[in-house]
């Protein structure tokens, strides 16, 4: 599996646009800046929805209203983040694919998607009975807390990707090599 991922990453790395994007100081920085600054739209809205469920933000505005109205800008923000995220991976495919932090981030993104699905399902099932209450029921609050925790770790992992502590071109422990998917004798990093 790791060899397959490595080969795909090398193939992407060999495409001319990958190198062009990586080597373009301004373009790469524009993409990275957009990825980071869109946090204000995507995570900003998401955290406000989660904080509403916990009773810390907009406690006197119906929860369904906050969730529905902020959902659209949040999804627009996440779409931009997703596109710029793919471009960032495209620019540095091998190192990203073999980054422990990138891998944790991807797993957590899947966990966040599942949590968001369950959160909306639980909310739509019961919101009419607690819509105007300051705090959502425990099941919904648990989803909000999980969302806050997962996304906080995702942001931390995103920052950690920039550091080379566990990169495959350094000598690493067997555990790190396994988790990062380092390949014996690999020539591309």
């Amino acid at each position: 599996m790791n060899e397959f991922i490595y080969n795909i990453a090398v193939w992407i790395d060999d495409t001319p646009y990958s190198a062009m994007l990586h080597e373009s100081y301004y373009m790469y920085n524009w993409v990275e800046s957009t990825h980071v600054l869109t946090l204000m739209v995507s995570l900003g809205m998401l955290f406000l929805i989660d904080l509403r469920m916990l009773g810390y933000a907009f406690p006197d505005v119906p929860a369904s209203k906050i969730a529905e109205r902020l959902n659209i800008p949040m999804l627009i923000g996440f779409t931009v983040m997703f596109i710029t995220g793919i471009l960032l991976f495209y620019a540095v495919p091998v190192r990203s694919a073999q980054s422990i932090w990138f891998r944790i981030k991807m797993v957590l993104l899947v966990a966040c998607a599942i949590n968001a699905y369950l959160f909306h399902k639980r909310m739509s099932e019961s919101v009419s009975s607690w819509d105007c209450e300051e705090r959502a029921p425990k099941r919904v609050r648990t989803g909000a807390v999980l969302s806050l925790v997962f996304w906080t770790i995702i942001v931390i992992c995103g920052r950690f990707i920039a550091y080379d502590w566990f990169d495959c071109d350094y000598e690493q422990s067997a555990l790190v090599e396994f988790v990062a998917g380092c390949i014996d004798g690999q020539t591309r990093f």
């Binding site: 920085n29 946090l39 204000m40 955290f47 406000l48 907009f58 942001v155 550091y163």
Partner: protein, 194 residues
């Protein structure tokens, strides 16, 4: 008393005066004297406990950076919701007053998070940022943002919003979004410099 003479717009006029004075000051040689005088303070910042941790423990620095980003995200969310409401783009079926007041409460804590994590980060790379022009642009933008929010936007929005010209409200909202975007953009720019 000047406050009485200036009437209800005293804080707005004083804030504009302060911003104009800072801009005027930045074109004089006094700016260089102040810049030089601040150097020992930045040298001291690096010797503090925060500075020591920031320089020697990369994981702690990156984690605090992530906290800074989350603070920025929440602050941005509050600004967009509050100003989006003033522009009639979001939560249009919730009263202005409710959206603005509730968003302001969260905004305050997001700003506190940004400032605390920002101080920690600045201590870790104090001498680097001292020589970065963009760091000073960010500080000016941040000071402008805080002054604008607490001394222009908030006093204006304390009044009955129906009595305020809708163009003024929209201009205030656009200015608020732009000033906080400028703070975020200059912050990102620091990452590319030096």
């Amino acid at each position: 008393m000047p406050i009485t003479i200036l009437g209800p717009y005293s804080r707005t006029i004083l804030t504009i005066f302060v911003i104009a004075a800072v801009l005027g000051f930045s074109f004089t040689y006094v700016r260089i004297d102040v810049y030089t005088a601040l150097m020992p303070f930045f040298e001291w910042m690096e010797t503090t406990w925060f500075g020591y941790i920031g320089k020697t423990w990369g994981a702690a620095f990156a984690t605090i950076q992530a906290g800074h980003l989350i603070g920025l995200a929440v602050l941005g969310g509050c600004v967009l919701v509050s100003d989006g409401r003033l522009l009639g783009l979001i939560l249009t079926d919730v009263p202005h007053r409710t959206v603005i007041d509730r968003a302001d409460a969260v905004f305050f804590w997001a700003l506190v998070t940004l400032l605390l994590t920002g101080i920690f980060m600045a201590c870790g790379v104090a001498m680097k940022i001292y020589y970065l022009p963009v760091y000073w642009y960010k500080m000016l933008a941040l000071a402008g943002g805080i002054l604008f929010h607490y001394f222009i936007r908030r006093p204006l929005l304390v009044h009955d919003l129906n009595s305020i010209n809708s163009t003024v409200l929209k201009m205030t909202a656009i200015a608020s979004i732009l000033v906080w975007f400028l703070v975020a953009a200059t912050g990102r720019w620091i990452g590319f410099s030096g």
